[in-house]
């Protein structure tokens, strides 16, 4: 089907892009009634109005390139991807692809619970346009990759959702496509399989597959992509290096979320997680790099500064500031306060403003973390709680330079290994 340049395994010397998007636009037309729409296929009937979801989209994706598609909800990301996959037709412009496009957006389409994994694989691969013989050739690999053992020949209704995802991912990636669309947030079961899946995606990329990665997760875009495209209200706002794009994107979001960062006193619309008597309040909280730039994506091990500005509204005998880092699921990662560090501020007067700079190395694992703050009078916030703010700040940890590791803490060991021949009197201790 593809008369395209199937330059598999050759180094990406081919300048020809695998994907060309030109003047692409998609609009939805509204008609007085649906009969008018039907009439419009055969005669020039004017629609009531036309809403453009995407317009003037131009970009190329080269062989082996990983491009992140970033944008807020409703920016047009999924419309764009659907047009690249081919399920939606462009209203204007065109998309030219060289080779097969596959999407890992929603896995397990068309799976049937009464059928075995093997039967579903056959069907699913058929839906991708492969013949029985081709699927048979790949079946052993699919089965091996899914690693679900005997379950492969049992009806899918007895599978756990994780097993289903494993089979679904294995079929979806059984044949290397030229262009692969990946939803980074897609959960393919447990962490182990998640890594296995991303390894496979990376392997495809090495062999020349271009990746289009859609994500809300800034960390993922920065660590996975060579390039990013920022969509905003159906247009390409920026196309460039992930770091630059993410800065731009963050600025865009910050505008929206400003009131969350800048906490003003006497705020009538207070969030529930904020509590306290209010004698002292947090004016501002932000995270900065060593050079002072504001951050919300932090590299593992990076030196950062948590800057907290506190306003005093009435004279107070003493003030303790505490903060706590929590991971994505709300587990405490680290917490301390200025009582423990023996830095209690005494005799504060109304109108005073205090700026705290908490400097630490972010030796945290990749993922999203939030900062909770408390202002109180002694060692715990239970006595004279001036203010308590949950999720005062959210930031992303991303592993850009370090070797791969698991977990929420970066406690890198220095690994040593001694090898020696086991003496005959001593049994071999290796497991």
């Amino acid at each position: 089907m593809s008369q395209a340049t199937q330059t598999t395994q050759t180094p990406p010397a081919t300048p020809k892009p695998l994907l060309e998007v030109r003047e692409l636009g998609k609009s939805y037309r509204r008609y007085r009634n649906e009969l008018m729409r039907v009439a419009s296929w055969f005669s020039p009937v004017k629609p009531l109005d036309e809403t453009w979801i995407l317009r003037d989209i131009n970009f190329d994706v080269a062989q082996g390139e990983a491009v992140g598609i970033v944008g807020q909800n409703g920016a047009g990301k999924s419309t764009l991807l659907k047009m690249i996959t081919g399920t939606l037709r462009p209203t204007e412009g065109y998309i030219r692809t060289h080779g097969r496009v596959a999407a890992i957006l929603e896995l397990g389409m068309g799976f049937n619970g009464e059928l075995t994994g093997r039967q579903n694989v056959l069907h699913s691969a058929g839906l991708m346009g492969f013949t029985h013989a081709q699927v048979d050739g790949a079946m052993a690999d699919i089965e091996a990759f899914a690693e679900i053992g005997d379950y492969f020949d049992k009806p899918m209704r007895v599978y756990s959702s994780g097993m289903q995802m494993r089979v679904a991912f294995s079929v979806a990636t059984a044949f290397r496509p030229e262009i692969l669309i990946v939803d980074e947030a897609l959960s393919v079961g447990d962490a182990y399989f998640q890594h296995k899946s991303f390894d496979r995606i990376r392997e495809f990329q090495r062999q020349g597959t271009s990746l289009l990665i859609v994500s809300h997760d800034k960390a993922a875009i920065q660590s996975l992509c060579d390039r990013a495209i920022l969509l905003e209200q159906g247009r390409v706002l920026e196309d460039g290096l992930p770091q630059d794009i993410m800065d731009y994107y963050n600025a865009l979001i910050a505008k929206k979320e400003n009131d969350r960062v800048e906490i003003t006193p006497l705020d009538s619309g207070q969030i529930q997680t904020r509590s306290g008597s209010g004698e002292a309040t947090v004016k501002q909280i932000s995270l900065h790099a060593a050079n002072g730039n504001a951050l919300d994506v932090v590299d593992v091990g990076q030196a950062v500064e948590l800057r907290i500005t506190v306003a005093i509204h009435t004279n107070l005998p003493e003030l303790v500031v505490g903060y706590k880092l929590k991971d994505r699921v709300g587990q405490d990662v680290f917490g301390t306060n200025t009582w423990h560090t023996h830095q209690i501020e005494k005799q504060l007067t109304a109108g005073e403003v205090l700026t705290y700079r908490m400097r630490f190395n972010a030796n945290l694992g990749p993922g999203s973390y939030s900062v909770s703050l408390s202002l109180h009078s002694s060692d715990t916030h239970l006595i004279h709680n001036y203010q308590w703010v949950d999720h005062a700040l959210v930031f992303q940890m991303v592993n850009m330079e370090k070797d791969f590791f698991l977990g929420s803490s970066w406690v890198m060991p220095a690994i040593e290994c001694e090898r020696h021949v086991a003496t005959s009197s001593e049994p071999n201790e290796s497991v």
Partner: protein
């Protein structure tokens, strides 16, 4: 048209497994499995043959059997059930497969092909049962049996042509999906399936002749009940009509498809 047929051929694997899975899931976890495929039409035919014949033992001119009415009825049923099953399923085919169409790219022609395949299998089961019951009842018309193949082809053509046209429009105007079962009911009673064509008053005979299904079911009656060759003019007209409807559907699909997924 040719392009889409090629697409269907490329996706033959998907079409084959879809049809098989439809059957497998229908009978999955039932003890006697595929036997139900025979039992359902068999019970229907038996009810007509035994009960209705006992109650309405009226002899029909041209059939030498006390089961004449039952034979007449089942012969017409074979054609009607194929037509209405394909039509009904085509009506909802795009809406029911909305998820698939929104997420995956495949030649859409595969969908009606799957419907046709699975309806033909059902119809074959019914046909086999009818032949067995007819043989038991001592009614046998071997010379005209091959005509059934031709009639099946024409029925599929008509049902697909009309069904797809309505199925495409149904994506945009959902009232069609609600309206069609009612229309189909009317059509059923305006077609001589459960009553002999002769009892229709002469004044209505002209009107009923405009119903293509009158001729289609009539041909089934000729072949299976009366043991005579069907009217060639009627078959030719039905074929032209069916082919015309299929072409219109294809054209409509070409026009509608850019907006189809938007509306699903």
């Amino acid at each position: 048209m040719l392009e889409s047929l090629k697409g269907a051929w490329r996706y033959r694997q998907f079409i084959a497994t879809s049809i098989r899975h439809e059957l497998v899931t229908r009978f999955a976890r039932s003890r006697i499995g595929g036997a139900w495929m025979i039992i359902h039409p068999l019970s229907m035919v038996l009810i007509y043959a035994l009960i209705l014949s006992a109650v309405l033992s009226a002899k029909l001119p041209g059939i030498e059997s006390q089961y004449a009415y039952a034979i007449y009825l089942t012969a017409g049923m074979l054609g009607w059930s194929l037509f209405s099953e394909i039509l009904n399923r085509c009506l909802g085919v795009f809406i029911e497969n909305a998820n698939l169409m929104k997420k995956l790219v495949f030649p859409k022609i595969a969908l009606p092909v799957i419907i046709t395949g699975s309806c033909l299998i059902n119809n074959l089961a019914l046909f086999v049962v009818i032949l067995v019951v007819f043989a038991v009842l001592g009614h046998f018309t071997p010379s005209t049996l091959p005509w059934v193949i031709v009639l099946t082809g024409i029925t599929v053509l008509l049902a697909l042509g009309l069904g797809l046209m309505l199925g495409i429009l149904n994506v945009f105007i959902r009232d069609i999906g609600q309206l069609m079962p009612i229309v189909l009911q009317f059509l059923f009673w305006f077609t001589p399936v459960v009553y002999p064509a002769e009892i229709v008053p002469a004044s209505l005979q002209k009107l009923i002749a405009f119903n293509p299904l009158f001729h289609l079911v009539g041909a089934y009656h000729d072949v299976l009940a009366y043991g005579q060759a069907p009217s060639l003019t009627a078959l030719a007209a039905l074929t032209v009509l069916g082919a015309g409807l299929v072409l219109i559907s294809a054209l409509l699909f070409r026009k509608a498809s850019p907006e189809m997924v938007d509306a699903l």
